[in-house]
Subunit: 409 residues, 2 copies
């Protein structure tokens, strides 16, 4: 038996991500920031709000004037006027006075609380009965209560969700500095692989990896750039790699999971200038025959040819590199795992980390993770899968009912 | 006290979604299918693979020739030739024979298994020793083992993930029928609201809802179409609504959470042709003052003006309507909830469903859900939140440690 790989642990491999740089930043307009990653810390240049607003429809009052008010013994207040939305009130409110106000309106001077309209009754145009007391500050948003001037509102490295888009507009940010989306070159190899518009002859199959990897790259927030299918000829592969490297921030070569082709890929990598092979095999299943090189300070991956292996390696190994290069802060990383319980016993080989495809099932007491077994060349196993679970290297297997963490696919 | 709303339960409201139609379908090319929803069932027109492939590098053999082979007592086989990738072997394999084969290669006639190269030793160019027996079918993917001709591979109404993109390419689908992305018109109202490029005067605030709602719409797989800020004048609002309805599949009007503006919105809705108000208030918090009408058979929403309320209503009420209109099959719905345990006691009012913003925290024994309290006008509470939990209407509160399901935000 020969040792075909210099195999590394997956955690050693993902730790290499920080050895690569992040992409440059760019300015995007406010309506194109969704899912982008902030390249600047966003500091508020205003108090938000910068005036005292009511959160309810009703009457702005001095709270003290309502103390002791009840249905049986209402407080009577004189209505001094109506506050128009968006306007600064041009009158103040005295001890026995109230001002009509709508949600979002600005409180007049001296008023310090709002009585909900539901707790009042207008006797006529100028006098109301108040049935419930309010405390100072009640139903009022104070100056700077959302954000204060000078406060860091969003950190650099944070992914922008719809609510962060809302914050940016509240601060009047018409544009914002974000990291450029990393460009990921995708090369498919294999003499048996034909383009999807071709009917494969016996012995051939259509190119699956170009499309599924492009989908994963997009999911990761990066931009796929595809280079089609390169035949198993050294010069062709070298030329394609050279071009992809010059146009991308990272390159994925898939296919070539046979020993011969792997050797090709390694040869080509070693022949490129500024190249260092960092990983030649990872102790995971599926996905062992994975290659990682640094070429021109860019990560260059040789992914396994089996469709499932390529996808699993992307999800658990490549993705953290994209996140790092894209500027995502470690603290801003969505570490989304879904807790579930294994629905059956699962065997596992020691000495490697196993990633098992699972389907989530609804059960009493929570979700079940039902293993989907099947060869790593069969794409239907990924179509049936909702996620992956990890079985650590020193675990021989897991019993039915074991708590697992599912990485959604 | 007046009854300002005809309040409905949230589950009654979401059940109304199926009363609306789905959007039409369209054809998109293979590389633009990610996250689209299939408008056709995808049936395989081939056996995949349509030849017997090996999953390993090694030798194609008749399994019987290896029975009993071991390190101590190897089997000796004659190597008849090498199978080239993508080619149909032009020779057969007899009982004492083997053929060199690489992963993905086609098995020759009569061969029924593959011996891994690691379990062999080549004595010379024509003879190998085999150290381990293989069973018939071992390391071989059979004809149709991934998909069989005539099999429904993907159902209509399913959302396309990267792995489904892979399946579509395996089947040679250069284009596919998907549902059109629903167009959602967004109108902001309120005399106190100014565009984000304007510095608000005292009493004014910038338009947050247009941007955050556009983000949520995009997240839901739909296309936002924004109409800016419409002043609180009936004719202006009616004209904007009319235009949005003619250009969109659904309309969201936000702001106008004051009683007066709500009345406006209702008046305008009632004045539009083919209009029926279906919901005028939902017994949820935040989000009670929500309006739903059917206008021209399209859902027309009056959302609360408070930024948090608008977002929560979008996530828990509007989103199911978009999913339905977008053609997503109920079975294909991602019902992603993250199980966690409440980190503190939480009070709740009976008679309504409460949605509480939570931050996920790592703890021993799983995730914690830490409630984020704060007024529904404060956007920073949504920025700190990872998700929402639901407290049902007949629950008075929940104790620290209670198991909850977190809807990610």
């Amino acid at each position: 038996m020969k040792d075909f790989f210099k195999v590394m642990d997956i955690d050693q491999v993902t730790a290499l991500a920080t050895g690569f740089g992040t992409v440059a930043d760019e300015t995007v307009p406010a309506d194109e920031t969704l899912d982008r990653i902030l390249a600047e810390a966003v500091v508020s240049d205003i108090d938000l709000p910068d005036f005292r607003r009511t959160t309810m429809d009703g009457y702005a009052v001095r709270a003290g004037a309502t103390f002791g008010a009840s249905e049986g013994s209402p407080a009577y207040l004189n209505v001094k006027g109506t506050i128009r939305m968006g306007d600064v009130p041009d009158f103040s409110v005295g001890p026995g006075e109230a001002a009509r106000i709508s949600t979002g309106g600005m409180l007049p001077d001296a008023a310090d609380a709002v009585v909900m309209i539901e707790h009042t009754e207008a006797l006529d145009d100028t006098v109301i009965e108040v049935y419930k007391s309010v405390a100072p500050g009640q139903h009022v948003v104070d100056v700077g209560e959302d954000f204060q001037r000078g406060e860091t509102v969003l950190d650099r490295g944070r992914r922008i969700r719809p609510q962060e888009m809302g914050v940016l507009s509240a601060l009047g940010r018409e544009s914002v500095r974000v990291f450029r989306r990393p460009v990921v070159g995708i090369i498919s190899t294999g003499d048996e692989v034909v383009p999807i518009d071709r009917m494969p002859r016996q012995g051939q199959i259509r190119d699956v990896n170009t499309y599924s990897l492009a989908g994963w790259v997009r999911r990761a927030g990066a931009v796929p750039k595809t280079y089609g299918i390169i035949p198993d000829r050294r010069d062709d592969l070298r030329e394609a790699c050279r071009r992809a490297l010059s146009e991308s921030d990272m390159v994925l070569v898939s296919g070539g999971s046979s020993v011969g082709t792997r050797d090709y890929t390694i040869d080509v990598l070693e022949s490129l200038p500024q190249s260092r092979v960092l990983v030649h095999g990872i102790s995971i299943s599926p996905g062992k025959p994975t290659i990682l090189a640094s070429v021109d300070d860019k990560p260059f991956w040789g992914l396994p040819g089996h469709v499932v292996s390529a996808m699993v390696v992307f999800a658990v190994v490549v993705r953290p590199f994209i996140d790092h290069m894209a500027g995502l802060a470690a603290s801003g990383m969505p570490d989304l795992r879904i807790p579930a319980r294994l629905t059956r016993n699962l065997a596992s080989a020691q000495g490697r980390v196993d990633y098992v495809r699972v389907r989530l099932t609804a059960g009493e007491g929570g979700l079940g993770a039902e293993p989907i077994l099947g060869k790593s060349g069969l794409i239907h196993t990924m179509v049936r899968a909702d996620g992956l679970i990890r079985i650590d290297r020193d675990v021989e297997g897991m019993e039915k009912g074991t708590a697992v963490q599912v990485l959604p696919l």
